[in-house]
């Protein structure tokens, strides 16, 4: 009987707002529930979405009323989240607090308070940050504050791990790389759409024949789905589209998404009179992404920075050949036979797209196999299992030596201040030692914050004693044994 935990996922970003972090939290929570854990989500109240909600599978969502300042991130008040957070945690008997996204204030506060309350904490980083500009410096200092006393950190790619380790001065061994995943069932190519059923794809033909070889004069459609922002590389796209269309007569573009750079694209279309070859769909819902993707053969992703790039996995799962820029964590995501990499330069992007078109025309790429391959590479069950190992490691269910490696566990350099699972003590003085190292001034400031937090904790224990907080009944848990039937058929 493996241990099960009561886990609270905390982030500013959750449904009803669409996005990558949001779906990550939802999918991971669902799969963890499937594995017999209890998961709740704590986020701030959205418009028309307040109070407590249950989602599918018994996932309970607390929408805490809080002041939202910018792009659904809440106002950073270091302590004001504590009373209600403590109440929720005690009601739900939480063992592990798992925060998401480094721009989420809720996540940082929750990790701080959870450590004060003596809970294990995990943080998942979804984004990349530089080190040069003022905003990054501030964010990095804040991240350093929170992550001084966290039990484990999860990053979505190796590049993201390097970045987070540098930003928060972490020990690399306490940072795990667990990628995002896709729900492969939602991203099937066209040829699969008929024969599918819910029974886990048993009736698939292992290697379905290609539907029809692509002739030299068939039209190849290139799909772009991205928000049209600068850092998504829309400038590159705007510059490359006319040249690609000029070089390759039987091609067309479908562009979905909206943003401030959409006007540039439209201007480009009018300038070059490409209205019949470039179709702009505007913003689309996440459910429609697959339907747009399957209209094309090539997916073009010109982003300038990307921690993981879920969308290219989705595109490959739909059987599209992927052309993408070699930035951030993107080179780690897909095998080379599914992708053509380009430097973030206009010329290289045009050349890479030309290469992809030529390869498709020569029928060198077995795109019909992509779906099964992606399905075997990325699944949320896998993510949940790997996250579970992190939980086991920090809560001591697997030994320190096993989790971190033998020599690391036996090394004399591990002291209480830089502790590990089981060793990472909750004693206030040890925590203060960890925070004190954050900087000459920042260290003292952070220590002050932690002390105040601890005093607030003592006050709350007096004022609302934990005996008087009702324990809420759990959603009937799945037996961990059940999961085999549903996921690994």
């Amino acid at each position: 009987m493996p241990p099960t935990y009561n886990i609270a996922m905390v982030s500013d970003f959750f449904y009803p707002q669409p996005g990558g972090v949001e779906s990550h939290i939802y999918q991971l929570s669902t799969k963890l529930i499937d594995r017999g854990h209890k998961v709740i989500v704590i986020t701030h109240a959205y418009e028309g979405r307040t109070g407590v909600r249950y989602l599918t599978n018994g996932l309970k969502v607390y929408h805490v009323p809080f002041l939202v300042i910018f792009r659904s991130a809440t106002l950073p008040t270091v302590f004001s989240f504590f009373p209600i957070f403590r109440n929720i945690v005690l009601r739900e008997r939480i063992n592990i607090v798992h925060g998401h996204a480094s721009l989420s204030n809720f996540c940082h506060e929750a990790i701080l308070h959870a450590r004060t309350m003596g809970l294990r904490t995990v943080f998942t980083d979804h984004s990349l940050f530089g080190f040069a500009d003022a905003a990054s410096i501030l964010t990095n200092k804040l991240l350093k504050f929170t992550l001084s006393d966290v039990d484990h950190v999860v990053c979505v790619s190796h590049t993201c791990k390097e970045n987070t380790v540098l930003r928060a001065s972490l020990d690399p061994l306490m940072v795990s790389v667990i990628p995002n995943a896709v729900v492969a069932e939602n991203f099937k190519p066209l040829s699969h759409s008929t024969g599918t059923s819910s029974s886990g794809g048993n009736n698939y033909i292992p290697n379905p024949p290609p539907p029809r070889p692509l002739g030299p004069h068939d039209i190849i459609t290139i799909v772009v789905i991205s928000r049209l922002f600068y850092n998504k590389g829309t400038d590159l796209l705007t510059a490359a589209i006319p040249r690609i269309l000029e070089n390759h007569p039987n091609t067309r573009f479908i562009i979905a998404g909206s943003g401030p750079k959409a006007i540039d694209l439209e201007q480009m279309i009018e300038q070059n009179v490409l209205q019949d070859r470039v179709e702009m769909l505007g913003s689309i819902r996440h459910e429609e992404v697959r339907d747009v993707m399957v209209r094309g053969q090539i997916y073009l992703h010109p982003s300038l920075t990307e921690a993981f790039g879920t969308v290219i996995v989705e595109a490959a799962s739909c059987g599209l050949y992927v052309v993408c820029t070699q930035v951030g964590g993107i080179p780690e995501v897909l095998p080379s036979h599914m992708t053509v990499f380009a430097k973030p330069e206009e010329d290289d992007l045009v050349a890479a797209t030309g290469k992809a078109i030529a390869a498709l025309r020569a029928n060198k790429v077995r795109t019909e196999l992509f779906h099964e391959q992606v399905k075997s590479m990325y699944s949320w069950e896998n993510v949940a299992i790997r996250t579970e190992r992190v939980y086991n490691g920090i809560s001591g269910a697997i030994s320190e030596a096993e989790f971190y490696g033998y020599d690391a566990a036996n090394a004399p350099s591990w002291s209480a201040t830089r502790g590990r699972s089981g060793v990472q003590s909750f004693a206030l003085i040890d925590r203060l030692k960890r925070y004190y190292g954050c900087g000459i001034w920042a260290g003292k400031l952070f220590c002050l914050c932690v002390i105040v937090d601890y005093l607030i904790f003592l006050f709350l224990e007096l004022w609302w004693p934990r005996e008087q907080i009702d324990i809420c009944p759990d959603w009937p848990r799945k037996k961990p044994g059940e999961r085999k039937d549903s996921t690994f058929g």
Binding site: M1, P2, P3, R93, N95, M117, G118, R120, L128, G130, F131, S157, H158, T159, C160, E162, N163, L166, P172, L173, V175, S176, V177, I178, P179, N231, D235, L236, A239, Q271, L304, T305, F308, G328, G329, E332, V333, P335, H337, P344, E345, E346, Q373, M377, I385, R386, R389, N392, S395, A397, I398, A401, F403, Y404, G405, Y406, D407, A408, S413, F426
Partner: protein
Amino acid sequence: MAPPSGLHQSAIASDFETPFPALVRSSTVPASLKSHRADPSHLAPEDAYTPISPPRQPFDAGGNGSGTDSHPRRIRRKDTSRSTSRRRKRFQKLLWVKQSYPDNYTDQTTFLENLQLNPRVQPYDFWPLVADSTVILQHVCSVVIFIVCFVGIYQERVNPISMVGWGSFATFIGWLVWDYWVTQEDPSGDGDGGDKSRSVRGGRIYREYRPPRRQDSSSGGNSQALGLPNNISTASISSASNLPSAASSVTNLVQDQPPPPPPCSNSNTASNKNSTTLLMPGHSYSRSVSSIHSVTSQTSANSPTSTTRLLGPDDEEYATNGRAYLRVSTIKSAILIYFTLLGLSPILKSLTRSTSSDSIWAMSFWLLAINIFFFDYSGGNRKMPVASLSTNAALMASTVLASRLPSTGQVFSLTLFSIEVFGLFPVFRQYARRRSWRYHVTLTLLLVLGAGGGVGMILGDVDENGWWPWKKGLIGAVVACVISAFAMGGCSWWLIGLQKYKNEIYGPWDPARPVIINRRHWDDD
């Protein structure tokens, strides 16, 4: 406290992780591996930039791996050599591969391999740094000289008329020298006017140095007009009548500057009476002057694209009689500004009568500090948006300081002197520096000596021996030389010493800079 101990009690079931046998792998590095470091799986800071990494043993030495053989699905690829089943695969920085390493495994050879530390840092050299710091020294010294002059006037130790006379004379000489330099450096006006680049350059130099010339001649005219009685009413009338034309002349000279509309009416009403409207002419005055100076700074801050486009075609006309025409027009506008100033002086005198002197000292201190900190030391090569802030702050400081002075002549002298020091002198300094290094050093030395001597004399007693404490002045000059030498050397040395804290980190996480060739050609149309 929530019970973390409750988590410990349950044991691990062995079948718990069977679906992914790769994850059962427990050790990151075999225990036998011991490098010179205490903890080989721990990345040391020097790994970030030293190319040599500790020797790594093959991982099949101590691995108890069964993961790769029972790998459930193998992706079929062309290069099967990479996925050949070995006992333990090499760690790859890939997410789609089923790694036979735990998730928190940190590979020493690949971790942070793309990190770049300080890739674009250029080290400083000591002597060039000291040489560059002379620009700052010059400006600080001229501010000090201005303060010394104010204190001299305020304590009535210096005759303001003689001070501004000498200052204007020096400015006039400076203008002549500058004009000589320009004609020498700019033969395009006479010679090859057809050459486009040359003519563009000539146009730009015209543009840059027109305001100083205008004001130079204003000060020159002022020295001739010093004999005029400071009759308030006539002065104000003349200022009122002259202002529009002055404004128009300014706008004639600077085509891209909208004409300042209100000043004539303001000064008309203000010259009549009324302490409430007294602020208005002060405003108009300072605005007109500040607009002139913002023009100075803007043009000297190198905005050649628009101005050269304007002036390029006219260059041929300039070639024939442009220089003479320019001289006449600058002298004309200088006279206009001179009379404006003369008219506004009595109003300025009572501008801050209701404010206590302490506030004025504090305010002028901060304004002069702003002037020093935001001054455009780059020599006009770079666009500096706050350069006009610097000049405006200095002029405001001089205005409020002048308003402390009791007589109109003193106010007029100090204001005119401030225009010369803060508006025109920087242009001359910059030009001298560009012209020749020797001029620059000489000028610096003169300024340091002047500032030090001035401070020494101000600090000396008034009636020590006679009225001219030259001994104190000499001591001050020597002390100033020593201090400035130490300051320049010390600051340069300090800056070089601080370079070791420089830590710029670049890596694959930074947003890429897109390389786009035909960048928005539709925007330029």
